[in-house]
Symmetry: C2
Subunit: 406 residues, 2 copies
């Protein structure tokens, strides 16, 4: 008997028929004697519909009120799934984030989980019930409803698994696992049986849409065994995300090619090359709750340097406006920006022990005439920023270059 | 400066444009220096949509989960209205029933309010904010979300007005006040400037759709000054529901003709005429949470009697099934029922001091050849049960008979 947390995304619960299918799958695990906590998203399209409604009222919706509204999507799903379980004889009970309770900070629309009270859920599980929890949401210390931001249901799932010390956290989605890259771009992409947390973290943060990055961080931190599975297939083991790389196996040098279309780059030119510059620039960006991805500062000359970073494309205009105000303070020369870029990355724990991966990557891109605008590396990934028109070509070339097609 | 509770129904907040109009109306009161608490229903059609969705999953939706789902309709509206207020510069803050908190019992889908914590609202009002509260919902002692049943938003409005000791509770609806009868049936129907709580109670319980009966009971009990107004007209004082009849004015004998199409009658024939019969029959009905309206028991003969009552048409089958089980226990002879009936009532505090109202009413109906199936009277109303086909005719005749056309 195991305690399993299962998370189903919006597509998996997209209509009553699919909700009934989820109930059947949950019932199977319940019948096997497992304790099951199910975390669900809003039915696909619902959250967007609610946001659109809010924007009809207020162009920039008030964040607290937006969370009040958006949290209803998951609240509907938990009720429906609990009914579907009861309808087939499985005792179940739904919980909103506030009812669990999932305590968060008060950063509306992007809240962070502070703690989870497992007592209500534990009592229900011990009584043989399936517990159905609304993902994506929590409640702050003052009882305000908060949401964790897009994709936050994954984080909810992992956080609940951590709080309950679950044996496994299963993320059901519309793909059957983690692939070497997006099969829509490279049809030869292969499903991975396992991937390390570190690799998954790089893959997720770089735009592989399978799992939200925060959920992977959480899972790594709390050693939650995480598995990605398809909610539309009954067979298949999906991809297991492991804490450690398997020492016994021949590691591939590169596990996958990740990419992200949704990027924009900003550069502050001619910044005085003095201590504290990075903080002054990025502090203002962070205060506006804008996530920064790549950060690049090269050696300066003539007492000034150039400072670049990338943000989500949606935050481009906002970030640009902030830089303009910082520019004056710092006495920088100019702000430039480009929101027609993409990022492509080769990810693999194997590159730690294999030199020459970067040069192999740069050569493959050069052979295709693709110009590299920015480069950033970590121990297990190499990322390049390219003109967005090269995205598909670059991904295919790299996928082949690192032998991921075989 | 007054403290006003305003309640807007589903039609009044039926789309973003109408929500913006409500915000403008609220802003006007706020600008005049009044403290305003707004109670809103779900956007028209939303609750029905949610119930339909639930029924696709489970034919008889689990009541707790149904409340979990249905409460989201109002939760969306409060967020939207708060945004609409902020968009025009009025500070506002939304509250779900649970956030207020409106404590109820645990009778899901038909919960009763036990208490209201006014502290959150009071703090916001004192800080100059408009408080926007989700009607129709509350939370039980265990944190489960409950709903008050159809039309419960009126009750929420009055209960909040009582808790806050508001100067007035304004119920905005799609009619501009309480009429002598439904103008769709009698075009000559007149709007009343005032009506007593007692009369309103009889009018509401008899099917005048303007106000939910529980809200009128509440208002009478806690002496809340209640006013019914149109949300689509800027002018007009609506109808004020007063605690006492105006002693100075010439009272009309009859204030209005109420009716209800949505009735069904049940009769248990040949019940042993012994003490406790009524309790044994109606106890079982009450246990099933079915509201009973008229109850009639005439003098018995041969040691047995006939016991009749009316219920909502929707509860007819359920009530019939319960009677069949009680029949055996009581040794009654037969159960008969009819769900093709209606009830028509003449209501007026004036009849206390004017004899002969009943006979005038029965004569008017007899002159039109309308057969009376059941009669029930109170101090201020006379109700008759008729074949439903006579409803319109009977209402028109009585409206004219009691001079309400003038």
């Amino acid at each position: 008997m195991a305690l399993i947390v299962q998370k189903y995304g919006g597509t998996s619960v997209g209509n009553p028929e699919r909700i009934k299918n989820v109930a059947k799958r949950v019932a199977k695990f319940h019948a096997q004697g497992h304790q099951v906590v199910v975390v669900v998203s809003a039915m696909s399209g619902e959250t967007n519909k609610l946001i659109a409604l809010a924007k009809e009222i207020q162009a920039n919706p008030d964040p607290r009120e937006l969370d009040q509204i958006c949290s209803t999507g998951e609240q509907v799903t938990i009720g429906l799934l609990s009914m579907a379980l009861k309808a087939i004889g499985v005792p179940a009970r739904s919980y909103t984030g506030g009812q669990v309770k999932v305590l968060t900070d008060s950063t509306f629309t992007k809240a962070r989980i502070l703690s989870i009270d497992e007592s209500n859920m534990r009592a229900d599980l011990d009584a043989g019930k399936v517990v159905v929890v609304a993902g994506f949401q929590g409640v702050d210390a003052n009882g305000n409803i908060t949401t964790l931001g897009r994709g936050g249901s994954d984080t909810s799932g992992v956080a609940l698994a951590a709080a309950l010390k679950a044996d496994e956290c299963q993320i059901y989605t519309d793909v059957d696992g983690v692939y070497t890259t997006d099969p829509r771009v490279v049809p030869e992409a292969k499903k991975l049986d396992t991937i390390t947390f570190e690799e998954m973290l790089e893959m997720a943060s770089l735009g592989s849409k399978v799992l939200q990055i925060r959920s992977v961080e959480f899972a790594g931190k709390y050693k939650v065994k995480l598995r990605v599975l398809s909610s539309f297939q009954d067979e298949g083991e999906g991809t297991l995300i492991t804490v450690e790389e398997d020492k016994n196996m021949e590691q591939p040098i590169i596990s996958g090619i990740a990419f992200n279309r949704d990027e924009a780059k900003l550069t502050m030119l001619g910044v005085p090359d003095t201590p504290g510059i990075a903080y002054q620039i990025l502090g203002a960006i962070a205060d506006a709750n804008i996530d920064v991805d790549m950060i690049i500062q090269n050696v300066g000359h003539d007492g000034t340097t150039d400072f670049s970073f990338t943000v989500n494309r949606g935050d481009f205009a906002k970030a640009q406006a902030i830089l303009e105000t910082v520019k004056a303070t710092l006495g920088a020369r100019e702000i430039t920006g480009d929101n027609k870029i993409c990022k492509v990355s080769a990810v693999g724990v194997g590159m730690r022990s294999h030199p020459g991966v970067a040069s192999k990557m740069f050569k493959a891109l050069a052979d295709e005439g693709i110009n590299i605008q920015m480069i950033s590396t970590s121990e297990i990934k190499i990322s390049v920023v390219l003109d967005e028109k090269y995205l598909e070509l670059a991904v295919r070339v790299l996928h082949r270059t690192f032998g991921l097609d075989q």
